[in-house]
């Protein structure tokens, strides 16, 4: 399984990411997920989320999750980008792409990745009030 992990303060460039996709002839399904900063946290309006990571541990924990995906599904490729620092409302903080032969495993693996990330990857967010 190919993996590509980017943890960076740069804005997520969906177009560039899509252009760099390499599909094998046996791959029939691509699932992408974008997690976008919403305009409120709880009841409060916000302008942005400020993301912080224990970056070395985050990379390691993402690696463990990718290994678990590879053991469980016939996935060809996982690419994941998590943005750090200030991410304004309406911009993505997370981009995940899973490529697989069929759609069921692509959807399952993508959701598993995100669920696991939300349990295990040391990244935190601080709302910046409006």
């Amino acid at each position: 399984m190919k993996t590509e992990l980017t943890i960076s303060t740069d804005a997520i460039d969906e177009t560039a990411l899509a252009k760099r996709r390499v599909m094998d002839d046996g791959m029939g399904a691509v699932v992408c997920f974008l997690g976008v900063v919403r305009g409120s946290e709880g009841d409060a309006s916000i302008t942005a989320l400020d993301y912080e990571a224990h970056e070395e541990m985050a990379r390691h924990q993402f690696g463990l999750i990718f290994d678990a995906v590879e053991k469980r599904w016939p996935v060809e490729s996982v690419r994941l980008v998590h943005r750090l620092g200030v991410v304004p409302v309406n911009e993505p903080s997370l981009w995940v792409e899973v490529t697989a032969p069929h759609r069921a495993e692509a959807f399952d693996a993508c959701q598993f990745l995100i669920d696991e990330m939300k349990q295990k990857v040391p990244i935190w967010k601080k709302p910046l009030p409006a």
Binding site: H82, K118, K120, P122, I123, W124, K125, K126
Partner: protein, 81 residues
């Protein structure tokens, strides 16, 4: 033995610092370290039950036996995504 402790996210604010060094007896567990840290930084005691604990880059449970020089991280529930 000496253990390096790093605080992340709002645990840093609660502790008032991002790192500390704790002296422990040989054979002490992660639970013991956590107890000492909670005494030293009382605001962290309030989040005792929701504290995540890692040694190096791995999550470890309370009965993990620490070694001299271990790098321990304490932090609140993660919120990636």
């Amino acid at each position: 033995m000496l253990i390096n402790v790093t605080f992340w996210s709002y645990f840093r604010d609660h502790a008032g610092c991002s790192e500390t060094v704790v002296e422990l007896e040989t054979g002490a567990t992660l639970a013991k370290l956590h107890e000492i840290v909670c005494e030293q930084f009382p605001k962290l005691a309030d989040a005792r039950n929701s504290t995540l604990k890692a040694v190096g880059l791995e999550y470890e449970s309370d009965d993990f036996v620490l070694s001299d020089g271990d790098e321990v991280s304490f932090f609140p529930p993660v919120q990636g995504g």
